[in-house]
Symmetry: C2
Subunit: 184 residues, 2 copies
Amino acid sequence: PSRLPGYATHQVGVAGAVFDENTKKVLVVQDRNKLKNMWKFPGGLSEPGEDIGDTEVREVFEETGIKSEFMSLLSIRQQHTSPGAFGKSDMYIICRLKPCSFTINFCQHECLRCEWMDLSDLVKSDNTTPITSRVARLLLYGYREGFDKIDLTMEELPAVYTGLSYKLYHKELPDNYRTVTGMD
Amino acid sequence: PSRLPGYATHQVGVAGAVFDENTKKVLVVQDRNKLKNMWKFPGGLSEPGEDIGDTEVREVFEETGIKSEFMSLLSIRQQHTSPGAFGKSDMYIICRLKPCSFTINFCQHECLRCEWMDLSDLVKSDNTTPITSRVARLLLYGYREGFDKIDLTMEELPAVYTGLSYKLYHKELPDNYRTVTGMD
């Protein structure tokens, strides 16, 4: 095994599923430049040093004008681009967000359309990407049976040596598993 | 919002929790160089173009001599290093693996110790990192109440335009949510 220092091999992108539990509507956009007329979640690339959740909130606002709050991580995609891309890969993370504002003011450069769509319509739509469709179904499952069924929640922890902290995302542990000591 | 092309900002590392359901033992190592005497899961950095699951299987084998099979993704950590690191960040992914061999032959350069430990002992141990401890509890929860409670399973899907494919990880949908059409 190589003991050379690592280097950056991935760009990190995010998509934010902003779901309003009161109206059962979810925020979707259509790209102006690619995937035309396919409904998808707003999102974009992380800036250096930026946390996933902050990227989501920023990108959703820049693209749609909607303010939102990070709730959980739902899904991850890993994709490797063609050999010509010098081995750069893509990690794409889909999160669940809660809206804090509702008036759409979308970016005309990036989006052709932007709307609050009934979650059940997005689930039924053929006019969407495979990822969007699966995440819509996950949201419906979570809405009906509890978001704890689908959420990877975030915890901030101190790094052992550096004095910095990191953010850890995983399925939330039930109370009786958080403090296990004498279990067998 | 910037429309410049993205670039690689993250290195991707993996750790593999190799759990044997028959013996309730999990494969753990102690690093030779850092985190001395702290039990953790074997792992390392992804090579360019390498899928998460393949990195896990390779790193576990290189470090411990154990052959294993990728089962699911359990947890993700995002960490940003100090400003001196030129904004490079770290995405660290912890997966669940199933052992295909059992005789340990560990790498003396990397590891001080390597053993099959009772999962319940790892859960109780103070001599471990916060991530290892949380993942041990997740494994115990999954073992007792069903791994579907903790697993993000993998699906390979075709990319819309490029003709390539990608791997998508999320909580598995129950059967009745996979084919929803007329739900409301």
